[in-house]
């Protein structure tokens, strides 16, 4: 059974897959409104209901769905890339044409492939000499490496390889641990003043601490405890206190406990 006759029941289309394909090519179904993921899911259901995998049909489906995806990507990007490179950007209708051209191209090389297979079949039973030249006729004569013929030297070499190397001491490598809860507490302390500068909050801190402090700041923002403003990219961040609604305080404290118990980076 071919891919063509598998039935779809989607929001904007209901019917066989090949009809959908035709309508898309004729632009009677808007590809932008078509959820291709739904088509794939429907196809997977279809495969499962059949209980066996027809590789030929599955391949055909994958080729078609990939072409549709590419077409849709082009449609979605067309607006944003306008003027960037008018020649490289394909109009949707040209993309449909290219889809057809590509199918024809593939067909051409499939025929060429059949020709190659015939050539190979015609040469069946023809063998070639597959022997190395006699040593004295080779252009480059490799001398054996010194000592490679001496079993004692070889034994010593392999012996060195077989003994386990000493374990590497990793004690000096400390894994820096910066608890989020600790940074949250630190920021809250600073917030009691009403506002503070982020640079000040992380003065002298290492990279990891800075990163976790940003994380803590986001956490405070999420809970409505802090707001911030940044005048320019990479500039200092001014953090202001923002009092959360009183009703949420109970919930916040419970969340704090959970954070203190488990949250560390």
């Amino acid at each position: 059974m071919s891919v063509a006759s598998f039935e779809l029941d989607l929001e904007i289309f209901s019917g066989p897959f090949d009809l959908l394909l035709t309508l898309v090519l004729r632009e009677e179904v808007d590809l932008m409104e078509l959820e291709l993921a739904e088509v794939v899911l429907a196809y997977l259901d279809h495969l499962e209901s059949r209980g066996e995998l027809d590789l030929e049909a599955a391949t055909e489906f994958i080729v078609l769905i990939a072409a549709l995806l590419e077409l849709k990507s082009r449609l979605m990007l067309a607006g944003e890339e306008e003027g960037l490179d008018a020649l490289a950007e394909l109009e949707p209708e040209h993309a449909a044409e290219e889809l057809l051209a590509r199918m024809l191209d593939a067909r051409r090389y499939r025929s060429a492939a059949a020709h190659l297979r015939e050539l190979l079949a015609r040469e069946r039973g023809v063998r070639f000499r597959d022997a190395p030249l006699p040593t004295h006729l080779r252009r480059v004569i490799m001398q054996p490496a010194p000592g490679s013929a001496d079993p004692l030297i070889l034994g010593e070499a392999i012996g060195r390889l077989l003994s386990a190397p000493p374990a590497i001491n990793l004690e000096h490598v400390a894994v820096p641990r910066v608890p989020v809860a600790e940074r949250v507490a630190h920021l809250r302390r600073l917030l009691r003043r009403g506002s503070f500068s982020f640079d000040e909050a992380v003065a002298g801190a290492d990279r990891m601490t800075v990163a976790v402090t940003v994380f803590a700041l986001l956490e405070l923002y999420k809970r409505g405890e802090a707001n911030w403003a940044q005048a320019e990219n990479f500039g200092d961040i001014a953090v202001h206190a923002a009092s959360p609604p009183a009703t949420e305080r109970g919930a916040l404290e419970r969340a704090d406990l959970a954070l203190a118990a488990g949250g560390a980076m």
Binding site: A4, G15, P16, D18, L19, L21, T22, L23, L25, R26, T59, I62, V63, A66, A67, L100, R102, M103, L104, D105, A106, R107, R108, Y109, R110, S111, A112, A113, A114, H115, L116, R117, L119, L120, A121, R122, E123, R124, G125, V126, R127, F128, R129, D130, A131, L133, L137
Partner: protein, 203 residues
């Protein structure tokens, strides 16, 4: 088999014929007339005469060995009549048939070389990774530098020409031979549209 010019054959020194024969025996790869001339210090014309004489000697039916012009040179091959016995002697089969994916990939490389894997994938519409690595393993294709975008480029090998019985890539038919006619193209498009309409009419 092409006719041999008699005046070429008679004019050649017997020793040159024997030397050329020995060189062809020793070499695994096809030897061009130029290479043979350089090695024997004879003229290319004399070498051509020697080869003409050897071709008589190794004509089909005369010997278990054939002398063939392949991959831009001359090389000995076995007589296909010996294949069954050869297969009993050497357990390995000569060359396995190509899968459709491998044949398609090989066709694209042979016509478009040097060509990159993404380009092969684009034409076939499906990934060519596994087929490409098998063809590399079988030494039918090889790497040929990098494209301007850094993708590895592939080309066919001498082994490819030998196994497919080709003197050179020029012996491949023009790819346009398999061009669909405008009618066929139109039919393909029409068929797509008609199939859709026929179904649309069914209530």
């Amino acid at each position: 088999m092409r006719a041999v010019e008699p005046q070429l054959v008679s004019a050649v020194e017997p020793q040159l014929v024997r030397t050329v024969e020995a060189l062809l025996f020793l070499s695994n790869d096809p030897l061009s007339a130029g290479e043979l001339a350089e090695a024997t210090q004879a003229s290319e014309r004399d070498v051509a005469g020697a080869i003409a004489q050897l071709r008589l000697h190794y004509a089909p039916g005369e010997s278990g060995i054939r002398l063939r012009e392949l991959a831009g040179g001359w090389t000995f091959t076995s007589d296909p009549a010996a294949e069954e016995a050869a297969r009993r002697l050497f357990s390995r089969t000569r060359v396995a048939a190509l899968t459709p994916a491998q044949a398609e990939t090989l066709a694209i490389v042979s016509y478009l070389q040097p060509v990159s894997r993404p380009e092969i994938t684009r034409i076939r519409g499906v990934s060519a990774d596994s087929a490409t690595s098998t063809l590399l393993d079988r030494e039918l294709i090889e790497e040929a530098g990098h494209s301007q975008f850094g993708a590895v480029l592939y080309r066919t090998t001498t082994q490819f020409l030998k196994l497919f019985g080709l003197r050179s890539l020029d012996e491949l038919p023009e790819i346009s031979r398999w061009d669909p006619t405008p009618e066929e193209q139109g039919q393909l498009r029409e068929r797509l549209l008609r199939a859709g309409e026929a179904r649309a009419e069914v209530p």
